[in-house]
């Protein structure tokens, strides 16, 4: 009994820890708005990468369409707010719904006709491009500042602190969802699909159904985050449907380690900081040099740790956890 309570506390702590660690950051950064915006963007990227972890990490489908779902959900919420004064709280839920619906429409035929591996990656990459071009065709090549409104009703503020705290809640939610799925039947099924679809099917797993479920969950999270992402970028446009950014999310998921929550989170925050630092440090010297160094860094990680950052973070966490639980796993 004591053991169980202790176990529960430790699991709760695992979810709350990133949040608790994140809370004092604005204070530590002296409320420097640039740094807080950076922290906000890191948290958003971490949330997006963890959402990707469900389809890419657990289910092993190399999805390159993350910004299709972020863009669709985010732009819907933003447009509803601007044109109809609808609160983003509702808009984000609607955005989540429309992204999930898009994922279903895209995923159903893809999985029905057994599109997998590189072909799945290419198809999803095409989805971002299609949305990018469609938005230009329908709405024109626009690039808007969101008109300034303020308050919790609009989830927009003069400073970045509140939005940063809000994003921490989203991150905690996505971490919880990841851990919950990871331990449930769905998690076992998705991982086995990643390992071998044919063998998974032979032990009674409806591969098509579970892949579709993973895709829809992933898209729903992204559709929800979309508005926060757009606000953190200050502008919204057809450029939100970004192919390179979608690839970047997949890179984080892979560098972090497929299916590893701690690995993906570390990779997201670490890469964001390194990228931003290199950009600030070298951007003025030789534009583009930071990308080259960034690329080299990725290659180094790939060579030294082909299993992802999780291969040294997870043993470390496990040891700490074992100690917390009183010496027994």
């Amino acid at each position: 009994m004591m053991m169980n309570i202790r176990k529960l506390l430790v699991s709760l702590l695992t979810i709350l820890l990133p949040m608790l660690a994140g809370l004092p950051i604005p204070y530590l950064l002296n409320f420097n708005q640039y740094y807080i915006l950076l922290a906000l963007q890191s948290v958003i990227i971490a949330s997006v990468a963890l959402a990707w972890n469900i389809i890419g990490g657990y289910a092993g489908q190399l999805d390159l369409a993350s910004f299709a779902y972020i863009g669709l959900g985010g732009i819907l919420a933003t447009e509803l707010m601007i044109n109809y004064n609808i609160t983003p709280w509702l808009g984000m839920l609607l955005g989540s719904g429309i992204s999930a619906a898009l994922a279903f429409i895209i995923g159903y035929p893809l999985f029905r006709f057994g599109i997998r591996g590189v072909w799945y990656a290419l198809s999803t990459a095409a989805l971002v491009v299609i949305l990018h071009e469609s938005v230009i065709m329908v709405l024109g090549p626009y690039d808007y500042y969101i008109p300034f409104v303020e308050g919790w009703y609009y989830l927009r503020f003069r400073t970045w602190d509140n939005l940063y705290y809000f994003s921490l809640f989203i991150l905690a939610g996505v971490i919880f969802l990841n851990l919950y799925i990871g331990r449930s039947r769905l998690g076992y099924y998705l991982r086995s699909i990643r390992e071998d679809e044919v063998a998974a099917e032979a032990v009674g797993i409806d591969v098509r159904k579970y892949k579709l479920l993973a895709l829809v969950i992933y898209a729903a999270i992204l559709g929800f985050i979309g508005y926060i992402y757009i606000v953190s970028q200050r502008t919204f446009s057809y450029k939100t449907f970004s192919g390179p950014q979608s690839v970047y999310i997949a890179i984080i998921g892979i560098v972090g380690g497929l299916g590893s929550v701690s690995g993906v989170m570390t990779a997201a925050i670490f890469l964001k900081i390194v990228e931003e630092y290199l950009r600030g440090f070298l951007g003025g010297v030789l534009p583009g040099l930071h990308l080259l160094l960034f690329g080299i860094l990725l290659i180094v990680v790939g060579v030294l740790r082909p299993g992802g950052l999780s291969t040294f973070i997870e043993p470390l966490l496990k040891r700490t956890k074992t100690r917390l639980m009183g010496g027994k796993v």
Binding site: E195, A202, G204
Partner: protein
């Protein structure tokens, strides 16, 4: 159909382009039996298993399991009805631990990972998988261990019929003995009906109650292991006719 018939394959045919892999094959497997299915290379043994488990859709004929026509159903639906299988070339979950792989199988009949995990442990222990390697990743175990995990994963789905596709292929004689014991134990103690497709005659002859011989996609002979061993047409199919 007799009452103790578990699986009935009727006039099953499967073609790949111009090659006839199965030509109107009839097979019957009765409850509790351990049936060996043998035949030279290309006889259609694996194709037969693939047609039964839904990996391939046969061109003609029927597969009836427990009185229900399951021809052409999806593999996961067939697994749900109680037919499990292993693979000629093992299909391990390389980046999952042994216990997780078997738990995945056990989750077919229960919703709770904790319960499935306990069942998985029992099964692994039953077939004699070393306890110290339960948490080892699939990519770090040996071939015979892969074979055992494949078997445990299939057993974890609680099948009524288990089809083993060349389970001892590539193993050393001492390892074959290990598998022989496990296969007998599964049949006798777990009371699971087994269909054993095999190349290694020593193994089939020692475990089977009844042997079916396939040759060039057709049923060549059927009988007890000793009858089969001395059947002239079987010897001919395996070794060829005498030189003139």
């Amino acid at each position: 159909m007799k009452s103790d018939t578990l699986l009935e394959v009727r006039k099953l045919s499967k073609r790949f382009g111009g090659i006839v892999a199965l030509n109107s094959v009839d097979v019957e497997i009765r409850e509790g039996e351990l049936v060996g299915i043998v035949g030279p290379n290309g006889a259609g043994k694996t194709t037969l298993i693939n047609c039964i488990t839904g990996i391939y859709k046969p061109e003609a004929g029927k597969v009836v399991f427990l009185g229900e026509d399951i021809t052409g159903k999806a593999p996961h639906e067939i697994a749900l009805r109680g037919i499990a299988r292993t693979w000629q070339k093992v299909r391990p979950f390389l980046n999952m631990s042994v216990i997780d792989a078997v738990t995945t199988g056990a989750l077919l009949k229960t919703n709770e990972p904790a319960k499935a995990r306990r069942e998985a442990m029992e099964i692994l222990e039953f077939i004699g998988f070393p306890r110290s390697k339960f948490e080892t990743l699939g990519k770090n175990i040996t071939l015979i261990e892969h074979k055992l995990v494949d078997l445990a994963r299939a057993l974890a789905t609680k099948p009524k019929l288990l089809l083993l596709d060349e389970v001892v292929a590539g193993l050393r004689p001492s390892e074959i003995d290990v598998i022989t014991e496990v296969v007998k134990k599964v049949n006798k103690e777990m009371k699971i009906t087994l269909g054993v497709v095999e190349h290694v005659m020593r193994f089939v002859m020692s475990v089977s109650d009844r042997v079916i011989v396939l040759h060039e996609g057709m049923l060549l002979a059927e009988g007890s292991p000793s009858e089969i061993a001395y059947n002239p047409s079987v010897i001919e199919a395996y070794l060829g006719t005498k030189p003139i």
